[in-house]
């Protein structure tokens, strides 16, 4: 019993978080920045934060994760980090030769109050930024929001710094994929291109954090959206922002700055939210949905009907990031399952919480939602009344083991299994994969526990 120290009695806690269901802004910013081609994320703060962020991303992706640091010392924490950042910009362009440096702040530099735009313009004035190269930034104080906020801020910074309108409208459509896996970014692009639509997907970590083994070490892998594409994004016909929390602000910024109309949708996880995404693409680009996509959709529905009898009424507990939780809940309720406990560490706001509660309104069970909450509370709910299935990141495995509950890994971070960076969970195919994982978990458990007599060959 690894979590034997969790007691079922729920007492209000005011001053602390136990077993967090979130982490801090900079890691999200770092992840987003890695989705730009030739970009070196830079952590403006002391050395530890970025070492942790790199290690955490490495553990999740099993890929080298590059980033630099301002390496604050006591001096910098008293006099400000300008000298450090200037020196860092110099050194980075000399040694690592990236196309672009994406600076994010940490709690430390935020509290000291360093003015990054001012420092960057000084660097430019001093000639420290080579011709044709870029430095841009996002503020990411971790005492506000979570890793999702950091991702959103860095994604919005891409718009603020780079998007520009050329006065005409190109046929491209911008897709802001949200805080999802590299494979998901590939999948949204594939769906669009299946419909004959040219897209600019940003950020795009495909082939950055799931790159091929070539026998070479590349500091900057092939993938990522280019700066040229980011600039052109301001002339796209429209923007689809997937996930209100992770992508909404960037989509709005694009609309405000370049008059590119934006539609913000749920992450396309599950049947309905994928339908909405495909529909939005269809309207925005004025193209028909091809048969190939109808086929994918039809296969998903076919699989659901084939297996729905094993899903009915199953109680599910979910922990994760808000955008994912909302779409996932919608998918689960569509499968006639009951997402009864939902916790995210991210303070996602009242409006978000309301849409989540609306999704769950039809569930006859006692439903618990906590925004923001932590995994300790989530575990306490389960101790009080168990569920049939858990869905969440690797940290959920402690609960799954202690309470002996079937469990599907989904979210960030996943430190102990493969697959998340290669197989999408968005789109119809992604939904098919989620369905498969859920059924595997439930049916493996059923067969483990049933009597010899009830053990059946054919299901």
């Amino acid at each position: 019993m690894l979590l034997r120290h969790t007691h079922p009695e729920i007492k209000p806690r005011s001053a602390l978080t136990v077993n967090p269901a979130k982490t801090c802004q900079p890691i999200g910013a770092m992840y987003a920045a890695l989705g730009i081609h030739g970009c070196l994320p830079h952590s403006h703060g002391s050395q530890g934060c970025y070492a942790y962020h790199r290690s955490a991303l490495t553990r999740h992706y099993k890929e080298p994760v590059m980033a630099a640091t301002s390496a604050f010392t006591e001096g910098a924490s008293v006099f400000g980090g300008q000298a450090n950042l200037l020196q860092a910009i110099d050194n980075i362009f000399t040694v690592y030769e990236p196309e672009v440096i994406a600076v994010h702040t940490t709690c430390l530099s935020e509290t000291i109050g360093d003015d990054i735009p001012q420092i960057v313009s000084k660097a430019r004035a001093d000639g420290r930024i080579p011709e044709g190269k870029y430095v841009f930034h996002a503020n990411t104080p971790s005492y506000v929001g979570s890793h999702v906020t950091g991702f959103a801020n860095m994604t919005k910074a891409m718009v603020d710094y780079f998007a520009e309108s050329n006065g005409r409208k190109n046929t491209t459509i911008n897709v802001i994929p949200g805080y999802v896996e590299p494979a998901d970014m590939t999948e949204v692009r594939r769906l669009a291109s299946e419909m004959g639509i040219a897209t600019i997907v940003f950020p795009d970590t495909a082939n950055v954090l799931n790159s091929a083994m070539t026998g070479k070490y590349k500091m900057f892998p092939e993938g990522g959206v280019t700066i040229a594409q980011l600039k052109q994004s301001g002339s796209s016909r429209g923007t689809i922002a997937l996930g209100t929390l992770a992508s909404g602000s960037a989509g709005l910024a694009m609309d405000a700055k370049c008059k590119v109309p934006c539609q913000t949708l749920n992450l396309p996880i599950g049947l309905h939210d994928t339908d909405l995404f495909v529909d939005a693409l269809h309207h925005m680009a004025g193209v028909n949905v091809p048969e190939s996509i109808d086929l994918e959709r039809g296969q998903l529905i076919d699989a659901i009907t084939d297996w729905h009898q094993y899903l009915y009424g199953k109680r599910v507990g979910l922990v994760g990031d808000p955008d994912q939780l909302l779409s996932l809940s919608r998918f689960l309720t569509a499968l006639d399952m009951r997402p009864v406990y939902i916790a995210t560490g991210t303070p996602a706001g009242k409006k978000y919480e309301q849409s989540l509660r609306d999704t769950l309104a039809g569930i006859p069970d006692d439903v618990q939602v906590k925004v923001p909450g932590d995994m300790f509370l989530f575990h306490q709910w389960i101790k009080n009344e168990p569920v049939d299935l858990l869905i969440g990141n690797t940290y959920v495995k402690y609960i799954a083991r202690d309470e002996d509950i079937p469990y599907v890994r989904f979210g960030f971070p996943i430190l102990d299994r493969m697959g998340h960076s290669y197989f999408p969970s968005v789109g119809y195919r992604g939904a098919l994969r989620l369905l498969e994982k859920i059924l595997d978990a439930l049916l493996d458990r059923k067969e483990r526990d049933c009597s010899d007599i009830a053990f059946e060959l054919v299901l």
Partner: protein, 454 residues
């Protein structure tokens, strides 16, 4: 030869054969701004040292990240309580950053102590706490008085130095516990094991060896330790300190205050493991049977592992290894261990070595071995390719780099899952190296990157 840009400031942190013999390594310094260093912070150092104390409360005072990233990632095993594997954070918000976090800290401590009744509490300060100026020590004192347990501040603000300073901060906190317990039943032949964190269960092995020699182990600091045994650590006759950096400070302060001498030890590789046992035996030379028991133990243990080691050596002889680890002491042991397997070390480096360490490293290594301090991934991969290494030994951030280059890898940091220390550990290490170096997967590498290609 491949060239990569190396900052002038860093040139003296890399030693190669063509450098002249009077070369003095520059090390023990802060990383250059803008570097892609593989190092961590003060807080990380403190966390490493104290985290394995399984019946203590570890509360991280700061914003959520610092706590989230250190949640149960060190693999320090406990045979009893698992309280150290939970993640407790004050999760500071904007309000506290502006108005101070002392009240929240006080509240969190009281709630946690009431819920878990731990035997002691450690409160780690992160960077931001150092900036907003919370008086953590005062809050700790107050809670200690009210709750009747030791509540120890750990001054581990990340920017106040390097990981080594974090070790020191942890030692300072530990030192406050030492000397507060009852030492009456401690035998004259007794030791504390310092700097051993029970990763993969290594402390259990080492403790067993010493006990078989007839030496009482008063405390392990801090692998699988309990507050009670730490309190009475000052009753031991000798401190045995592993690793160059982590807990030497504590050994020194215990020597000054309690007159307990200390010796250094390493438990990696047969040679160093045996020496660690013999050195302790020599310290207790007045007790004749201890030396004898040590000899018997070493003989038996070596006999048990040697035949298989010989078989493994036949496959590994002549293969080349690159080592990049946290502390230099570990590098010393690994070099010896790899030699025993017939392997050649072509790159040796550490994140935190000092001048003496690098001098020793140079002496130990063959001519031609590249020696680096605080290296970045470009440098590491350049030398791995140039020196045609077959194996990389490192930590979490080095693993994918090695794999991308198409060579074997062995984690000798906190992600090792099996004990690599002790005699059995040497065999496990050899097996692991053998498995990875001789794996058919390297046959799938499209081509080995040739000189000059990145």
């Amino acid at each position: 030869m491949t060239t990569i840009p190396i900052l002038d400031e860093r040139r003296r942190q890399i030693f190669q054969e063509q450098d002249n013999a009077s070369f003095a390594m520059t090390c023990d310094r802060h990383s250059v701004a803008g570097s892609v260093s593989q190092r961590a912070c003060v807080f990380c150092g403190s966390r490493v040292v104290l985290y394995p104390i399984a019946d203590a409360l570890h509360l991280i005072h700061g914003p959520i990240g610092c706590a989230a990233y250190t949640w149960d990632i060190r693999g320090a095993l406990s045979s009893g309580p698992q309280l150290h594997r939970m993640s407790f954070s004050t999760d500071l918000q904007e309000m506290q950053v502006i108005f101070g976090g002392e009240k929240k800290l006080y509240g969190a401590l009281c709630e946690l102590i009431a819920a878990y009744r731990p035997n002691a509490a450690f409160v780690y300060s992160t960077c931001i706490v150092g900036i907003i100026g919370d008086d953590v020590a005062a809050v700790c004192r107050q809670v200690a008085k009210e709750q009747g347990i030791a509540v120890l501040p750990v001054h581990s603000e990340g920017f106040k130095g390097t990981k080594k300073d974090g070790y020191r901060a942890a030692c300072d906190a530990l030192f406050k516990l030492v000397g507060t317990g009852d030492t009456r039943d401690i035998a004259p032949v007794s030791i504390n094991i310092l700097g051993e964190f029970n990763i993969g269960g290594e402390a259990w092995l080492i403790r067993k060896y010493y006990e078989q020699m007839g030496v009482q182990v008063v405390s392990v600091m801090t692998g699988d330790s309990r507050v009670e045994e730490l309190r009475r650590a000052h009753g031991a006759a000798l401190n045995v300190v592993q690793c160059s950096g982590a807990m030497t400070f504590l050994a020194e302060t215990m020597q000054a205050k309690y007159g307990i001498p200390y010796i250094r030890a390493s438990y990696f590789g047969i040679e160093d493991m045996a020496k660690a046992l013999y050195d302790v035996a020599a310290h207790f030379a007045a007790e004749p049977c201890i030396q004898q028991k040590a000899e018997v133990l070493v003989r038996e243990q070596v006999a048990a592992v040697l035949p298989e080691l010989q078989r493994i050596k036949a496959d590994l002889a002549g293969k080349r290894a690159a080592i990049y680890v946290g502390g230099a002491f570990k590098a010393f042991s690994l070099i010896k261990a790899l030699r025993l397997l017939g392997m050649q070390v072509v790159l040796a480096g550490s994140q935190t070595g000092n001048a003496d360490d690098y001098a020793t490293l140079r002496e130990m290594c063959d001519p031609g071995t590249v020696i680096v301090d605080d290296a970045n991934p470009l440098e590491l991969s350049k030398y791995v390719i140039e020196k045609q290494a077959d194996l990389f030994i490192g930590g979490v951030k080095e693993r994918p780099i090695a794999y991308k280059l198409g060579i074997g890898f062995c984690d000798h940091n906190h992600e090792r899952k099996i004990p690599l220390a002790g005699f059995e550990g040497m065999l496990q290490l050899a097996r692991e190296i053998h498995t990875t170096v001789t794996s058919p997967v390297w046959g799938f590498v499209p081509f080995r990157a040739k000189d000059g290609e990145f």
